[in-house]
């Protein structure tokens, strides 16, 4: 149940509200069998902002970003990405929209059979097919330096630690200069120091690449470091929305349970 304060947070305008939205979700519903995961969910992601989506496991966070990128088809509602409704696009048009979206998977999802270089080349050769080999090499070098792993070029994913895999995965996400980046629990399974490094890296990416991001997490430290705005999901609905300060001083039991 929403408390008075939560209701208050819900109507508060976000800081970046004056900017145009790059993602606009309206009345999104998604069910698996009889289980309703998202119920009339609406959201706007504004240009250049880091939006953190908090929520318990199973609250529909990952389903939300998989619907945005078209990995899951929604039951109803609309998802506009750069003014194109991905719910009604054919595969070719959806591919074109996907080229503007970067997706950092929870597990990193690096291709095991490829080296780091090949992992980075893979999306680059497909999305930016007009690039020459020297331009590809320069781009790969640049992103690897940005994530602090320039010497990992010829390593296999199996030779990398958890934190390094996340960094390489982030490098693969940003190598195609996406306008939007979707982070699926970027700090899960990492130690606090590496988690902080990844959170700072997310901020660096926001500044350097001017990307708008949705960061799915239940790591409060990550939310503190990265969030321009936070929404909290509960049972497939927006439970609360605001900035980090508003969440931290909330007296709502559910929010307090997260921020204690």
């Amino acid at each position: 149940m929403k408390t008075e304060e939560t209701e208050l947070l819900l109507v508060k305008p976000a800081k970046a509200v004056t900017k145009p939205s790059v993602i606009e979700i309206t009345n999104l519903c998604k069910s698996f069998g009889t289980q309703e995961v998202l119920k009339n969910f609406s959201l706007k992601l504004y240009d250049g902002e880091n939006l953190v989506v908090l929520g318990k496991s199973g609250s529909g966070k990952s389903v939300l970003i998989k619907c945005i990128v078209g990995l899951l088809r929604s039951d109803s509602g609309s998802i506009k990405v750069f003014d194109q409704d991905v719910t009604s696009l054919n595969m070719n048009d959806l591919d074109a929209v996907r080229q503007k979206i970067g997706f950092l998977f929870q597990s990193g999802a690096l291709y095991d059979s490829m080296t780091v270089r090949e992992n980075l080349e893979f999306p680059l050769r497909r999305i930016k097919s007009d690039l020459k080999q020297n331009e590809i090499d320069a781009k790969i070098k640049e992103v690897l330096e940005n994530v602090g792993l320039a010497d990992a070029l010829d390593k296999m994913p199996s030779q990398l630690s958890g934190g390094m895999r996340k960094r390489i995965s982030l490098a693969r996400t940003i190598v195609v200069d996406p306008g939007i980046i979707l982070y699926d629990e970027p700090t899960t399974g990492l130690d606090p120091v590496t988690s902080d490094e990844i959170s700072l890296l997310i901020n660096d990416v926001q500044k350097k690449y001017k990307a708008s991001s949705i960061i799915i997490t239940h790591d409060i430290e990550c939310a503190r470091t990265t969030a321009n705005r936070i929404i909290m999901l509960q049972d497939g609905e927006v439970y609360a929305e605001g900035n980090i300060a508003e969440f931290e001083k909330s007296t709502d039991e559910l929010i307090k349970a997260f921020f204690k």
Binding site: F122, P123, V176
Partner: protein, 280 residues
């Protein structure tokens, strides 16, 4: 003896009986529905495979990588298998042929057996164990670790990149491996024949090939392509449709071998029937 069952109890019994019938019917309907759903799923998978084969850019680099992996990397296993096939067949057949004074037919008999049946089927079964399970496990683990989804969001069609390349590589490489195994089988047979006899390699080969005709070779080659396609398709289908947990990777690998082996034998049975209809 007459038993008076009260009306209420009779009603209860009738209801229980009806419910049991209903449960049985529901279970059977669910099984039938499940089977049909899976069958439709397989057809849909093959439809996607065909559609992706003829649409968009062919992933040539990945195709050649798979040809190398399926073909070249299977050579040691197939070499040993092929050699032993011919060697054992010769050792086992020789006494019977000698008894009838037909030991000169040994090279021809071994060659025909190897090329028509033993070579294709045994090599395909060995490849089902190596290639189908490998593909099933690889794609299964890619599914579990979200690599297939990562490919999809990179605007790459996983069906085209992963499935089309593997199925075509398997379809083309398995027949080559079978021909290679046949050749090594005949060499193995020559070694076997030389344990208790003395025959030159040239003479052995010339006797062997004098018994082989177009009608022996062509059906064997044609069915080898089907074996290859079965191995590739089953491995890819099982891996691509693996569940979410790590346990499903093992299941995908295991069921790939079982189903591919079974389908190879079924395809062989059909091929033998069709070959039998060809006039010699």
């Amino acid at each position: 003896m007459k038993i008076n069952i009260p009306v209420s109890k009779a009603k209860q019994l009738a209801l229980q009986h009806t419910l049991k019938l209903s449960e049985g019917t529901i279970a059977k309907t669910a099984t039938a529905s499940n089977f049909l759903t899976r069958f439709a799923d397989v057809l849909l998978f093959i439809h996607h495979f065909i559609k992706e084969t003829f649409s968009g850019k062919f992933e040539a680099k990945e195709f050649f990588r798979q040809c190398f992996s399926i073909g070249y990397k299977s050579l040691p296993l197939i070499s040993v298998t092929g050699f032993i096939m011919g060697f054992v067949l010769t050792i086992q057949s020789r006494p019977a042929l000698v008894r009838f004074g037909a030991d000169t037919l040994l090279p021809g008999m071994v060659a025909v057996s190897l090329i028509r049946e033993m070579g294709p089927v045994i090599t395909a079964l060995i490849c089902a164990g190596k290639v189908a399970s490998g593909i099933g496990a690889e794609l299964g683990s890619m599914k579990v670790t979200e690599q297939i989804e990562a490919m999809e969001v990179s605007s790459t069609h996983p069906m085209r990149f992963l499935v089309v390349t593997r199925v075509w590589a398997s379809t083309l490489m398995i027949p080559l491996l079978i021909l290679y195994a046949d050749g090594l089988g005949i060499i193995g047979s020559w070694f076997g024949a030389n344990i208790k006899g003395d025959v030159s390699l040239v003479l052995f080969f010339s006797q062997a090939f004098s018994h082989i005709g177009f009608v022996d070779l062509l059906p064997a080659i044609v069915k080898s392509f089907f074996f290859g396609a079965v191995i590739g398709l089953v491995g890819c289908y099982k891996g691509y449709n693996a569940g979410r947990g790590t346990e499903s990777v093992g299941k995908a690998a295991n069921s790939s071998v079982v189903l591919a082996s079974l389908l190879i034998l079924i395809v062989d049975m059909i091929a033998v029937q069709i070959t039998d209809m060809i006039p010699v």
